[in-house]
Symmetry: C2
Subunit: 227 residues, 2 copies
């Protein structure tokens, strides 16, 4: 549970298009015989760019199966600045506070969907690029949540052996960049900006986290930022 | 957890249109200050009729908020005779076997969605009409699964106090009919048939279970069956 020991037969990777899920895919690629990629449009502001990244990553990693699902009702439900018309930072770095970019229980919905697909296509693992330590304090990005979801999967799915894998959960953003660099992950096809679909803004909390990570790893970020 | 003690402030009921969820709604109605109803179209063969039932139940119970979500990708994913073109009974009553009407990890997807909505509208409970004992052996209808999901909700959601309530989990189908009758649940607006959208077929496993339940409770089923 939550570790990656033996080589997986068939792995489903939840691929948002962000750099954490990209590096998760790179690790899954190393440790799986077959990859399957799952992406969700949920009305996030940068959904067009994230889907573009997903498509490029499908071309790059050549998964045996891919699936894009639409959850427009999740964005319409509200409760997140990521899916609302206007983004306003609440300061992702304030300890103990959940940023307004948190999307209600999104990871549970995505994991449940991936497990449903895993049952149908006989995959033995579901990979998600959640980060706990060096992240923004989302409740559904904590190791304790994934442990509880793993138990729910074991109890409630048709096949009891689907493993939930979170390979970057304890990494810092710097370590994620280093790990991706080592595995030749194509960071050019990853997107972190909360706001823009063309040039990354370079000023939102997520752009700042990404830039800091590349800077501290001493690696240059291949994507372009607004001047 | 899983019991219903004090009166709930605001309850979200997952309402499929079947009789188990209808009776769950009737119980939630008695035990909640405010009701909210959530329904999902997921490509099931009788989705049109189930949505019709949902709409009538909204008129009957007058929830303060309602939401219908579309999960067309769940049906397209396959893995269930409920969402495939042709239904063929595998014998829902064979012990130890999961019937082919099982929809992959559906309840986890629905519960996760309801919890997301609960966070946004500040509901304190999510109600689901799953039946374990007198049911068809679906893995995501077992009490152990709901206990595990309750733990995942506690760990992964923004508010830690959303309660997952399964009031009919240990009832027999006969007891569910009796309970609904006592609470004046409008069974005329419930649908069990796996196949038809107009007159219930009276021959699929679900129609047979329903007819047996009404018969053993000594209550007449108000819906019409094909001659």
């Amino acid at each position: 549970m939550m570790t990656h020991g033996d080589k997986m037969k068939r792995s489903i990777v939840l691929l948002s298009g962000g750099m954490d899920s990209l590096v998760t895919a790179a690790i899954a690629n190393r440790e799986s015989a077959e990859l399957c990629f799952l992406h969700a449009n949920y009305g996030q502001r940068t959904q067009r760019k994230e889907l573009w990244c997903f498509e490029r990553l499908c071309e790059f990693y050549r998964p045996v199966q891919t699936k894009v699902i639409d959850l427009p009702w999740l964005g319409r439900m509200g409760g997140s600045s990521l899916t609302s018309k206007n983004y306003k930072s609440t300061g992702d770095d304030q300890p103990g506070q959940i940023p307004n970019t948190y999307v209600p229980f999104r990871n549970a919905i995505l994991i449940s969907t991936a497990v449903a697909w895993a049952e149908v296509i006989d995959a033995d693992s579901v990979w998600i690029g959640a980060v706990e330590q060096d992240s923004s304090g989302y409740p559904d990005c904590r190791a304790a949540f994934f442990q509880a979801m793993q138990a729910a999967i074991q109890q409630g799915s048709k096949v009891a052996n689907i493993e939930l894998v979170t390979p970057v959960i304890n990494m810092s953003k710097k370590e994620i960049v280093e790990q991706g660099f080592e595995l030749h992950a194509p960071f050019i096809y990853s997107w972190s900006c909360y706001i823009a679909n063309e040039l990354a803004c370079g000023t939102c909390d997520s752009c700042l986290l990404r830039q800091k990570a590349f800077l501290s790893a001493g690696i240059s970020d291949p994507i372009k930022y607004k001047e």
